[in-house]
């Protein structure tokens, strides 16, 4: 039995995404195919066919799904970066994103230290008033950054129907870095009293604590992706 227009476009979308074609190219291709089908159907109807027959004839004229998919997948320039260089997308890019977010968070910490705590040797002291909000923004960014990066990885994996291996590598990497990171600050560490903030990575005093932190980050980062997978599986089984 011939596929309906909706079925054809859905199947084609899944095939192209799984073959590594970039989502923007897939979207554009499907939009133009959909417009083309509407024109073909209108032409067939003008020649006296019923709407159902016209749609069947239009689908045949459009081409079979293997040819439509092959025409796109055999052109390497339509491949997404996730397919071309997964090591960069799930190895380098998350680390760079995390580094940028942490730089901003540490800048907030350092500037808050200069503004609100000019006489203290460390910014990690009890604070009040607007300082709570100011430091809170930096602290929130610092702790949530690995989770946000993980959500980004999950979003890309879901959009591009990727196999779990590379996204998992990225998530584990981010969780381990997030769990192992420590911030230290001291005004006396450098001369001039400007304040010195340093990040260290290690297991710290408690190996269990570090691993637990990493596990929490991993769980929170992977959660939206699992929910998406679960809902998609339920949708297809319904």
């Amino acid at each position: 039995m011939a596929k309906s227009l909706h079925e054809l476009l859905n199947e084609l979308r899944e095939r192209l995404l799984r073959a590594g074609v970039a989502p923007r190219h897939v979207r554009r291709y499907l939009n133009e195919l959909s417009d083309h089908l509407a024109d073909l159907k209108a032409e067939e109807e003008r020649e006296g066919r019923s709407p159902a027959d016209a749609e069947s004839a239009a689908l045949i004229r459009l081409g079979n799904i293997d040819d439509l998919a092959k025409a796109m997948t055999e052109q390497a320039e339509f491949q997404s970066w996730c397919a071309r260089a997964p090591w960069a997308m799930f190895g380098l890019a998350p680390i760079l994103s995390l580094a940028v977010a942490w730089c901003i968070a540490l800048l907030i910490l350092w500037s808050g230290w200069q503004i609100f705590l000019a006489n203290t040797d460390t910014p990690f002291v009890p604070i009040d008033g607007f300082a709570i909000f100011y430091f809170g923004v930096g602290r929130l960014l610092y702790f949530i950054a690995p989770i946000l990066v993980g959500w980004g990885i999950g979003l890309i994996a879901a959009r591009q129907r990727l196999k779990a291996i590379w996204p998992s590598v990225g998530l584990v990497l981010i969780a381990l870095i997030g769990g192992a990171a420590r911030v230290q600050a001291s005004r006396t560490a450098v001369s001039g009293g400007l304040g010195h903030i340093r990040m260290d990575f290690g297991l710290g005093a408690s190996v269990q604590g570090t691993l637990f932190h990493a596990l929490v980050i991993f769980s929170l980062a992977v959660l939206p992706y699992f929910i998406w997978r679960f809902q998609k599986a339920r949708f297809f089984s319904a």
Binding site: L62, G63, D67, A71
Partner: protein, 118 residues
Amino acid sequence: MAARETNPNFMNGVPELLILRLLQQEEMYGYEIVQAIRDRTDAVIAVGEGVVYPVLHGLERDGALKSRRKTINGRSRIYYSVTRAGSRRLSDLSEDWAHLTGAIQKMLTGGQHGQVIA
């Protein structure tokens, strides 16, 4: 000895050639292009109509075509037209095709064995 170009697939580049030739005259959208190819080749060249889009997108990516969205009679369509680079590519492809067809024609009409073609 200089390497010779080969023709692994005689249809290689033909869709590009036809599309560039059509769009050289006027801008068109996908459906129009396919109909025009069918009409002007007396339906001798007939492909699954949907496969024209990856060719169009590839040409656009290479800078041979440019596209713009136009709304006509309430329907939004993507119109394609040839760029200057596309005109040059059309000229190259036309030349290659002329050599190839010339060579085949010579073969069919009994060109001499070992004669250098093109």
